[in-house]
Symmetry: none
Subunit: 211 residues, 4 copies
DNA sequence: CATGAATGAGACTTCATTCAT
DNA sequence: TATGAATGAAGTCTCATTCAT
C-alpha cells in the first residue's frame, strides 16, 4: 500500500545518502567533507540529510556500526564453527580483507576515520573495537589451553599484534604504500596468518611435517 | 654578547612553546587544541607562538620530524651495527618502546596525530613514514638473503606487519586498552620480536636447540 | 449530506489542531514550538496543519483574536449594562481572571506570546490591544465626568495602570511568582478593583460610609 | 603603562559593542538582530564581538544585569533612606522612569526583551526580577505594619500591581500608545504613586486634610 | 482530506592567522 | 621580542513551508 511504498522509498533515500557519505568521506576525509558535499553527491537537498540523520557524526557512526557488527559476528562464527586456531584467525583476517576487497571505500572510511582515529571516533567506538580484540584474544587463549599456541605470549598481547598487523596491511593498501591487486588479497589472507602463527623464521622440516 | 644571549633565550622560548604543544596536543588532541591553549600552557602571549612558528601545523610537523628522524637513525644504526635480524628488529622495537616510555606524551602525539592520522598529517609525512617501513623491510630482506628468514613472505609485507604490530601495541598503551607498567615495556620489547620471528605456534625442541 | 458531514469533521480537525497548538505553545513557548510538535500533539499528519492554516503564525493569531474579541465584548457589555465604575472595572478584571481560571493554557499563550510580546505579535495586534485600553479608558473617563473618579489622573493613564496591574497579576500566576489557588482568583477579582479604585492607603470611616 | 593603555582601549571597544547592541536590539528586537548587525553598528569585525562576549545572549544578559542591579540598589536605598511609603515607592517609580528618560533604548531592550519576555530571558532572570517585586513588597509590608497602608491587600499582591502598572506605562511609551514628552515623565512619576496609593476615587476633604 | 518527504535559506559560533604597538 | 586585539571565512544544524501522491 501507499505507506509501504513510501516507507520503501524513504528507506532507499536514506541508503542513497549513506552511500554517498561513504564516497565523500572516503574521498575527502570525514573532517573535510561538508554535509553539503554529501547532499550533492547523493543528489538530494541539503535539508534531507538532516531529515534522515541527526548529525554528520551520526552518519559515520552508523556506517561504522553497520559494518563492524558484521565483523564481530564473523569472528564469533569462525570461533564457533572452525577447529584449528589457524582456521579461526584466517577467517577473521579473511573477513576483513574481503570487506576491503568488496567495498574499499567503506573500509577506508571505517579504518581511517574510526579505528585509527584514536582521538575522535576511535574513542567513541572503543568498546566495540575492543570487542574485536577480545574475540581474537579468546581464540588465542583457547589455542594456548589446547597446547597449540605458545603460552609465554599473553593472549591479549598476541591479539593486539595480530589486529595491528592486519590493520596496517589495509592501511598500506588504502594509501597505496603496498600493492593491492586481486592476487595480493588472496595471498595476504594466507600469509598474514602464516606469518603470525609460524613466525618469520623458517621452521625445520620436522616441524613442518608435524602439522 | 646581547645577540647571543637573546638568541639563547629565544631558543629557550621556542622550546618552551614546543613542549607546551606536546602536552596540549596529547591532552586535547591536535584538532581540539587551540593555539591559545598552547600559548597559555607555555605561559606566553598568544602572538608569540606565531613569532616562532608559521602555523599551528608547523608545530606538529616539527615535533614529528624531530622524533621520527631519531627513529630512522636508530633503525639504520641497528641495521649497520648489529648482526642477527632478531637483534636488529629488537633494537627498532626497543627504540620505539623506549621513546614511549621516556616521553609518552610526545609519542602519543606522533602516533595519534601523525602516523595513525592517515587523512591529515599521516599523508603529509608519508614519505618519512615509508622510510621506516623500508628500513625494516631491508632488515627482513637481508635476513631472507642470509637464509635466516623465510622467503615466502615478502619483505615489504613482513615490515608492514611488524610495524603495525608495534604501533597497535603502543596505541593500546596510550588508550589503556592493555596495561602499561614498567615490566610490560621490558617484556614487550622481547616478546614483540619473539612473536613475529618465532610465531605463535610452539617450536619443537630440535628447532629451539638449533638457534 | 457527505459534504456537510465532511465539513463537520473538517471543522473538528481544525479545532483539534488549534487546541493542540494551545497546549504546545503554552508548554514550549511559541518560538520553541515546531509545527511538527503541534501536529504530533494533535495526532495528525504534519502536512495537515498547512491544509487548515496558512502558517504557524496564523494559528497564534487566530487563538488570540478568538479570545480577545470576547474580552472586548465583555468590557463593552459591562460598560453598557452596569452602573458604577467599580462594577464595570470589576467585570472587566473578572472576565480576564475567569478566562485564565477556565483555560490557563490559552491565556498563558495570549499573554506571554501576544500581549507581552511587544516586539513580535504584540506589535501585530497592537490595534486590538489598544481597543481594550481604550474601552477601559472610556469607563474611567465616564466616571470622571460623573465625579466618581478623580480628574487629575488622565483616563488613558489610569487605564494603562489598571490593565498593567491585571496583566502582571496573571503573569505572576503563570510563572508561579504568586500563588494561584481558587480562593486567590476570587479574592483577586475583588481586590484588584478595590486597590486601584480605593488606593493602598486606608480611608477614613466617613469616606467608607459614603459609598 | 602599555598594559593599562591597552586595557583601557580594550574596555572601550567592549563598551562600544555593548552600546551598539543596545541600539540594534532596540531597533530590530533581540531575535531579529544578527550578531553581524551589532558588529556593523559598532564598526568592528564580526569576530571581535566574540572576542569580548561568549554569545549573543551574553550581551543581553549583561545589559540587563548591569541596569537591573542599579534598580535593585535604588529601591533598597529608597527604602533605607526615606520615611513615608509614598516617598519610597515614588523613588522606585522615579528611578525606573528616569532610566527610561535617560536611555530609552536600553530600557526598551530590558523591558521588551527581558522583563516582558516571560518565555525566554524573563525566565532566566526571574530571580533578579523577583528581587524587585520583593523589595517593593517589603515597602508595602512595612507601611502596613505602621498602619499607613491597608492590610486587606497582601503586600505581594500590591507589589505586583504597582510594578505591573509602571511597566505597562513604560511599554505604552515605548510603543507610543501613550504620549511621552518631558512633562509626561514628570507628571507620571507623581501620578503613578498618587494613583496606586490614593486610588482612583476622590477622597473626601477630611481625608485629604489628614495627610 | 491526508500524508510526510523534500526543500533551502539563514545565523551562530569557532579559531587560525594577521597586525598595530 | 613580545603582546593581545582584530579579522573574517567557513560549516553545522534548524525548521517553516512546499509538493507530489
Amino acid at each position: 500500500m501507499a505507506a509501504s511504498a513510501n516507507g520503501g522509498r524513504a528507506a532507499e533515500k536514506r541508503r542513497l545518502i549513506l552511500d554517498a557519505a561513504i564516497r565523500v568521506f572516503a574521498r575527502q576525509g570525514f573532517h573535510s567533507a561538508r554535509v553539503s558535499d554529501v547532499a550533492e553527491e547523493a543528489g538530494v537537498a541539503y535539508g534531507l540529510v538532516y531529515h534522515y540523520f541527526d548529525s554528520k557524526d551520526q552518519m559515520l557512526n552508523e556506517l561504522f556500526t553497520e559494518r563492524w557488527s558484521l565483523l564481530l559476528e564473523a569472528i564469533s562464527e569462525a570461533d564457533a564453527e572452525l577447529d584449528s586456531p589457524r582456521a579461526k584467525l584466517g577467517a577473521a583476517a579473511g573477513f576483513i580483507i574481503e570487506s576491503y576487497r568488496h567495498d574499499p571505500e567503506l573500509m577506508k572510511v571505517i579504518i581511517v576515520e574510526v579505528t585509527r582515529a584514536a582521538n575522535s571516533f576511535g574513542r567513541t567506538h572503543l568498546p566495540e573495537i575492543r570487542q574485536a580484540y577480545d574475540a581474537i584474544a579468546k581464540i588465542v587463549a583457547d589455542a594456548q589451553a589446547d597446547g597449540e599456541f605458545r603460552t609465554d605470549v599473553s593472549a591479549d598481547f598476541a591479539a593486539m599484534l595480530f589486529y595491528g598487523a592486519i590493520e596496517q596491511l589495509l592501511t598500506g593498501w588504502i594509501f597505496e604504500v603496498v600493492p593491492a591487486a586481486d592476487e595480493d588479497y588472496e595471498s595476504a589472507k594466507a600469509l598474514v596468518v602464516e606469518t603470525i602463527c609460524g613466525g618469520l623464521e623458517p621452521r625445520p622440516a620436522a616441524d613442518r611435517l608435524a602439522r
